[in-house]
C-alpha cells in the first residue's frame, strides 16, 4: 500500500501509463490478428515479422514453439569458491533459469520482459531468489519513443566506469561471470524525441528510488540498517550519436545509488548506524571518437550533494569524477582498453581527524566506500580481450588499480562456445591492497568461478 498521497499519485501515474501502453498492446495484437498489415505500407519493417522464425535447423528443437512465442532463455549451473558478501561462505553451487520475452507488435509497439529464478547452495545453507530484471512496453511513433515499466537506463561512453550512469541500480552481490548482468531495471517512464538522424533528447522519470544492492555490513558492536525512501528521480539527456564524434550532456536529480553511513544512536552497547541514500544532483557529459586504430572516450560528472559545505560527515561531499580512456584495436581480434580516473572531493575534510573514535571509524568506513577518504583519488583500469577459433574461444583480462591506498583487482576470464547452445566460462576474481580502499576491502570476495550455460 502506498504510504502517502505523493507515493500514491506517482504509482497512479506510472500504472496509468503502463495501462495505456498495455491497452495499445492488446488493441494492436487484435489488429494484427485481424490481418491488418503490421506496418504502414510505405516503409518496410526493420524487424522481420514474416521471417520463418527459427529456420529448418531450429524447428527440430524442443524449444521451437517457445521461440516462436518470443521466449528465449538459458539454464545455468555454476560454482563459486566465494560469494560477494564479504563473509566466510565458500564453495557455492549456483543453478538458475533465465527467461526473456521479446515481442514486437504492429504500430511500433514492443514488449520486453526478462527475469530469473536462482538457487544458491552453500555447504550448510540454501538460498533462493527470483527477480524480474526488466518488464516494459515500448512505443515508437515517428520521432518519438516512449518506454514505460521496469527498465534499465544505462548512460555513459567510457568502459564500465561511468560517472553519468546514476539512474538504475546494480546488484553487486550477483554471482555471474558477466559483470554487466548485475544491472537491474527500475519502474520508470522514458520519453525520447529524435532530431534528424543523430540527435535525441531524453527525459526519464523514476517514481520510486531503488538503490544498489550491496553486501550487508557485519561488524561486532555495530548494527547497520537501511533507510528506504520513495522519492522520485528525474533526468534529462541530450545525445548525439553519429558524425565524427558521439557526445552527450545530462542532468539527474534524485537519490544517490550508494549509501552514506550515519550513527543514529546506541542500544545496549551496540552502535546503531543507518545506511542513508541521500539526495544528489549530477551534471554529466561524455564524448567518444575514433582516430585511426584508437577509440578515445572521456566522461565526467559533477555531483552536488546535501553537504555542499563539506562540514557534515553524515553526507558525502560534492565531487567531480572523471574517466579518460583509450582503446586500441591491434587486429586479429585483439583489443585493449586503458582508462585513467580521478575523483576530486570538494571542501574536503579528513574523517580520520575526528576525535571520537566510534565516529572516526564509521565515517572513515563511509568515506572509504564512497572513494572520499582522500581529497584526490587516482587510478587506472584496463581490459585486454582476444578471440580465437572464429570467436569460439574468448579470453579477457580485466583489472583496476587505485594509486591512492594501492587497492587493486584482477579478473581473468575464458569463455568457450561448445556449440550454439552451450557455453562454458571460467575465471578468477582477485582483490588486494590496503583494506581502507574500495578494492582492498573486498578481499574476502576473492573467488574462482565457473559456469555452464545452455541457451534455448
Amino acid at each position: 500500500m502506498p504510504t502517502n498521497s505523493s507515493a500514491y499519485f506517482k504509482r497512479l501515474l506510472l500504472n496509468g501509463a503502463a495501462f495505456f501502453l498495455s491497452a495499445f498492446f492488446v488493441a494492436s495484437s487484435w489488429a494484427q490478428n485481424a490481418d491488418i498489415p503490421p506496418e504502414s505500407s510505405d516503409e518496410p519493417s526493420l524487424f522481420p515479422e514474416d521471417f520463418p522464425a527459427d529456420g529448418e535447423e531450429i524447428n527440430n528443437k524442443w524449444h521451437s514453439n517457445l521461440n516462436e512465442l518470443g521466449l528465449t532463455g538459458s539454464l545455468r549451473s555454476g560454482f563459486w569458491s566465494s560469494n560477494r558478501l564479504s563473509d566466510n561462505n565458500n564453495s557455492i553451487g549456483v543453478g538458475s533459469l533465465w527467461l526473456k520475452y521479446d515481442q514486437r507488435f504492429s504500430g511500433g509497439l514492443s514488449a520486453f520482459v526478462e527475469g530469473y529464478a536462482e538457487h544458491q547452495g552453500f555447504l550448510d545453507s540454501d538460498y533462493d531468489i527470483s527477480r524480474i530484471k526488466e518488464g516494459y512496453a515500448h512505443l515508437r511513433k515517428g520521432d518519438w519513443d516512449i518506454r514505460a515499466g521496469k527498465q534499465i537506463i544505462a548512460w555513459g561512453r567510457t568502459d564500465r566506469l561511468n560517472p553519468t550512469d546514476n539512474l538504475t541500480p546494480r546488484d553487486f552481490t550477483l554471482l555471474s561471470p558477466e559483470i554487466d548482468e548485475d544491472r537491474f531495471g527500475v519502474n520508470a517512464i522514458k520519453l525520447s524525441k529524435v532530431f534528424g538522424m543523430y540527435s535525441s533528447l531524453t527525459v526519464a522519470w523514476i517514481p520510486e528510488f531503488e538503490h544498489h544492492t550491496t553486501a550487508d555490513i557485519k561488524l561486532a558492536d555495530f548494527s547497520f540498517s537501511k533507510t528506504k525512501t520513495n522519492d522520485s528521480q528525474y533526468a534529462i539527456k541530450f545525445d548525439q550519436s553519429g558524425g565524427d564524434i558521439d557526445w552527450s550532456v545530462s542532468y539527474m536529480s534524485g537519490r544517490d545509488l550508494g549509501y552514506d553511513l550515519a550513527i543514529t544512536g546506541s542500544s545496549g552497547g551496540t552502535v546503531l548506524v543507518n545506511q542513508n541514500y541521500n539526495k544528489v544532483e549530477t551534471f554529466g557529459a561524455d564524448l567518444a571518437t575514433i582516430v585511426g586504430s584508437n577509440r578515445y572516450a572521456i566522461e565526467m560528472a559533477y555531483t552536488r550533494t546535501e553537504d555542499n559545505a563539506g562540514t557534515n560527515y553524515l553526507v558525502k561531499n560534492p565531487f567531480l569524477f572523471t574517466v579518460v580512456g583509450i582503446e586500441h584495436d591491434f587486429g586479429n581480434n585483439l583489443s585493449a582498453i586503458v582508462q585513467g580516473f580521478h575523483n576530486h572531493v570538494m571542501n574536503y575534510q579528513d574523517p580520520r581527524n575526528i576525535s571520537d573514535s566510534t565516529e572516526r571509524f564509521v565515517y572513515s568506513l563511509s568515506a572509504t566506500g564512497n572513494g572520499q577518504l582522500e581529497q584526490d583519488s587516482f587510478g587506472l583500469s584496463g581490459r585486454v580481450g582476444k578471440k580465437w577459433m572464429n570467436e569460439t574461444l574468448e579470453g579477457e583480462l580485466a583489472g583496476s588499480m587505485l594509486f591512492t591506498g594501492h587497492g587493486y583487482s584482477v579478473r581473468p576470464k575464458l569463455t568457450y562456445a561448445i556449440s550454439d547452445s552451450l557455453k562454458a566460462t571460467a575465471g578468477y576474481e582477485f582483490y588486494g591492497g590496503a583494506s581502507d580502499t574500495v578494492l582492498g576491502a573486498r578481499r574476502k570476495n576473492k573467488a574462482f568461478f565457473s559456469e555452464i550455460r545452455y541457451f534455448f
Binding site: L46, G55, S74, I290, G331, D420
Partner: protein, 271 residues
Amino acid sequence: MKYSMKQISIKTCLTAGLVIIFSSAQLGFAITPEEIMEKNFIVNKVTDSTSQTTMILTNKAGKERVRKTFGTTKLQKGTFDNMRMTRFLEPTDVKGMVSLLIEHSKDEDDIWLYLPSLKKVRRLVSSNKKDSFVGTDFSYGDVIGHKVKEWNHTILKEEDVDGFMCYVIESTPINKTIAKNTGYSKRVSWIQKDTFVARKAMMYDEAGSLYKEMQFLNLELVEPEKNKWYAREFRARNVQTGHSTVIKVDELKVNVGVKDSYFTTRYMESQ
C-alpha cells in the same frame, strides 16, 4: 637534373598511365583492370535492400554453428557509400545484437555495435578490416568491399568459371598499411566479363601464403535498369584452418524505400 614536385607528379602519372595502357593493350583488353574493379565494386550496390540471411559456420571437424540475421542497406545520396544495419536473430546468446556501418569512400567508415547485455550502443574502431565478421571466414573488409584505389590491379588472363568467361584480376595493396589492415598481401578475383560480378576469389595472407577461397553463387539481376546483381549464396573457406562459412540470403527485397532514419543508433536500441 632537378625536377619540381609538379614535374615529378606529371612524369609519374604519365608513366603509370602508359604502363596501364601498354599492359592492357599487350594483353588485348579494351578495359583497364581498375575499370573492371570499379564496375565490380558497385555492381552489387543496390539503391536499398532488406534481407534475411543464414550463416553456417563449419569447423575442420565438421561441427556447425548457425547464425540468422536481418539486415538493411541503403546508398547514401549521390554516392556509392552504403549504410548497413545488421540485426542478429539467432542463436539466443547473440539475439538482439545490432551492428550499424556507415561507409565513407574518402575516409574511415563509422561502425557502431549494440550489445543487449550492455544496453548501450558503442562506437568501434573501423580501420581494422581483417578481423572476422562475427566469427565467419569473411572479414569486415570482405563484407564491405575493398576500396579499389587502395589496391594495384593487373589483369592476369581470362578464364571460364562455371560456363561464364571471367577476367582474372590480381590485386595487391598499395602500401603496407592496407596490407596490415586487411590481412591480405594479394587478392585474385574472377570477374565475369559481361556483368562485372565476382564469381570467385582467392586471398593470400601477409606472408604470401594462400589464406582463403571464396565463391559467389546464385547470382541474380535484382535492379535491371542499373545492372545491379546480388549473390544469394556466399562461400568462404580458410585453407589454413579448414574452417568454412556459407552465407545464404534467404529473403531479399531491393529498392523498397528504406528510410535514412533506420540507420541510426535509435533503431539499434529498439530491442
